[in-house]
Assembly symmetry: C2
Homo-oligomer: 143 residues x 2
């Protein structure tokens, strides 16, 4: 069956490229044995790691440190019903190297609330998957 | 310490009200022992359950059926650095009652790609948490 609305799977490079176009994603980790999902500002570092900027004073960075987490970002347009979603799995570690911290600060990366001195958490992607979702080409029979 | 950028915790009612203002959220479930995150169109049903519209022909509905899942939605404005995020945990079940399916179809709920005949998955919230995140009132010292 020919279905135009089948999601198009994306390769890792395309996923990283798309990730670098949005300022915020969602980190998924375990809290009290349940999945927690937290929006965080991030950027794709030159080495391919994701740098998450977490509010200093929150417990989030400590919870993420040294654990395997999932990270998701998307851009979805409700008007055209098109968009993409990318999912990354990998190990998260608080950034401790002063040079790397300085570089992240210089790049302008800040936590969502814009505080001048966030904690950076580096996520090294081990699995990257993504899909482009589009209703294009498919007749939408309801209004 | 007085911090204007502390997230404001939201009550369950406020969370459901906010959820009803956005067309899409993200369901978090387990796939191959890893957390999977999938954007889905949804609505808050009159009985307080979340109805997710999943593409027929995908394996998602089957994977969600009868399991405890997390569901997250947010609205975040990168310009003002403000917004909210809501997280729901609960049991998901494929909607099988013809009357309830008809009601969901009549309400206009469709899967993200707009197909006329989606599978509906009902999520009964057991835990609802949310936060309003805002940089308002806090001087942003970087440009």
């Amino acid at each position: 069956m020919d279905r135009d609305d089948e999601p198009e799977e994306l390769g890792a490079e395309a996923c990283l490229r798309l990730l670098s176009t949005v300022p915020v994603g969602r980190v998924v980790y375990t809290e009290h044995a349940l999945p927690a999902v937290l929006p965080v500002a991030f950027e794709v570092a030159p080495d391919g790691r994701l740098l998450l900027a977490v509010r200093r004073g929150s417990a989030t960075a400590r919870r993420l440190d040294g654990t395997v987490v999932a990270f998701q970002a998307d851009r979805l347009d409700p008007d055209t019903r098109s968009g993409w979603s990318v999912l990354v799995h990998g190990r998260a570690d608080i950034l401790r190297d002063p040079e790397q911290i300085l570089r992240a600060l210089r790049s302008g990366l800040r936590s969502w609330v814009g505080e001048p001195d966030p904690v950076f958490v580096a996520l090294a992607p081990e699995l990257i998957s993504g899909r482009r979702i589009s209703a294009a080409g498919r007749p939408v029979r309801h209004s």
